[in-house]
């Protein structure tokens, strides 16, 4: 197998007495969708935050494309190719859809220090932003205010902003949350095609989505990875059934 694009090595993060991430090592290989599942409070968001740079681990390392980024800021990691969507939409609500998408394009261009020319008349930036919006199906809404969007459209815009970065790896924290069946189906179809561009570390509660998309699944319980494997392996794993479904194996 080729080298992983993204990996964590023995990450530990404690909040007081609670060890939210307990010696977690996972890999994300090119071309795969790696789903991260686990009951509420298992530590999924905490892990994502450490990978992105929002939280500093107590020990362990985060490696992106062979480079140790554990000490780097969120911004540096983003520039190094990490694209992220939030569990709760983090969008500039006062701005238009296009302007939000432009932010990603702007970040990717590494050139925010331009004070005079209009952002909207910069062809390269706009093309990049528009093509991302087109891909998630928001091109027609580009001039609407983000606060006017429906919940589902905001989730789409979250994904579009990450797309404009053209990242080397995606981290998505519950992208399906709050989408209807139709919305979920469309997003599943979309993510399915996305894995060829960059692998996705997908945190998701929607099991249909996970089973439809994941090449591999890691199960987190009480901060620990209790199993990693293909969909079938995980379905059969007795430890998973016990921890996750509360069943006696």
């Amino acid at each position: 197998m080729s080298d992983p694009i993204l990996s964590t090595h023995n990450l530990v993060k404690a909040f007081g007495a609670l060890t939210a991430t307990d010696d977690v090592s996972i890999d994300l290989f090119p071309g795969e969708i790696h789903a991260l599942i686990g009951p509420n409070g298992a530590g999924k968001s905490t892990l994502i935050a450490q990978i992105c740079g929002g939280l500093t681990p107590d020990s362990g390392r985060v490696v992106l494309q062979g480079r140790d980024v554990t000490q780097d800021s969120t911004a540096v990691r983003a520039r190094a190719g990490l694209g992220r969507t939030f569990q709760i939409s983090a969008l500039a609500m006062e701005d238009t859809v296009l302007e939000n998408a432009l932010l990603g394009a702007l970040g990717a261009s590494h050139r925010p220090w331009r004070f005079w020319r209009k952002a909207l008349s910069d062809k390269a930036l706009c093309e990049r932003a528009l093509s991302a919006l087109e891909r998630v199906g928001l091109a027609d809404d580009k001039d609407r205010r983000t606060s006017e969007l429906s919940h589902g459209q905001r989730r789409q815009l979250e994904v579009a902003v990450a797309l404009t970065l053209e990242p080397r790896a995606f981290l998505m924290d519950e992208p399906m949350a709050g989408l209807g069946t139709g919305g979920s189906q469309r997003l599943i179809g979309f993510l399915d095609g996305l894995r060829g561009e960059a692998p996705i570390l997908l945190v998701e509660h929607d099991m249909d989505a996970v089973f439809a998309l994941a090449d591999r699944i890691s199960v987190l319980a009480s901060g620990q990875v209790i199993a990693t494997g293909t969909v079938d392996e995980i379905r059969r794993d007795p430890a998973v059934r016990e921890a996750y479904l509360g069943e006696d194996a």
Binding site: C52, G53, G54, S73, T74, A75, V76, A78, R79, L82, G83, R84, F86, A90, L91, A92, M93, E94, D95, E99, N100, L102, L103, G104, L106, G107, A108, H110, R111, P112, W113, R114, F115, W116, R117, K118, A119, L120, D122, L125, R145, V161, T164, L165
Partner: protein, 327 residues
Amino acid sequence: MIGERSITLVVLGLLLAVVAWALVVDEPFTITLATRAAILALAAVGLNIALGIGGMVSLGHAVFFGLGGYAMGILAYHAQSFSALDLGLVSVAGTKSMPVIWLVALGVSALAALLIGLLSLRTSGVYFIMITLAFGQMFYYFAISWSAYGGEDGLSIYVRNGFPGLNTLVPIQFFGICFALLCAALFLNARLRASPFGLALNAARQVPARIETVGLTPFRLKLVAFVISGAITGLAGALFADLNRFVSPTMFSWQLSGELIVLIVIGGVGRLIGPVIGACLFVALEHWLGGLTEFWHVYLGAILLGIVLFARGGIVGLLTGREGPHV
């Protein structure tokens, strides 16, 4: 409802019309009032970049206003007393040339904004408010205790500084200079908000987490905005000193910082023309109410409370029917 752009043009037009009327009926004092409004507006336009776009509630912008004022005061003082200004390594002559003074005012206040910003932007929320307020006091007390330039009594400049080709002592000509600079600052501000930088800064105020995940650093965006903001307010300080031909530590006072915020809020936070509306109303109130009662600040306070509690978008918000700004 009225568009923001037409409000901007109407307000600037009205200000010009008042001045034209004053010129016709020969009321130089009204022109001076309009000049005062234009200068305060310029200072608030500067603050509005930090406050309105960047969301930084700076209660210390009087620092830059005062530095601009003292830049003018010190340079002009050395020029009128024919003494050299000793800067440690070199000593330079003073000057009575406005453009030179403006450049110095811009430079000095930008530098101060850089230093203050580096320290205070490490924090946010109330810490930021209190720290900027504290830095304001620091400069205030420094100016008071620095007797070389008048200390508490301030510095008087006998003749207004000059601008090539104009007679700055004629009120309408000095107003023209201030109004032109105000328009230039408004134009810069408008370009800035539509620029890539403005877009990022505006988003850094709303969702800092998002800005970081697209690879930008909110701290740097805000710092640059704070420096631009401080420099413009500093330029206004130099003009204000020239208007009064006097500088004193009160230019650094925290009340002035508070009033600059008040100007913006009366007009509408984050609105391009907000500071101009606020400044014109403020100067008008100060003049009319101040003429009626010694205690006009009570009314100012009441108006302010009313705006904060009941009309959150300020005047522009009332006119456009929208509380928040939107490009």
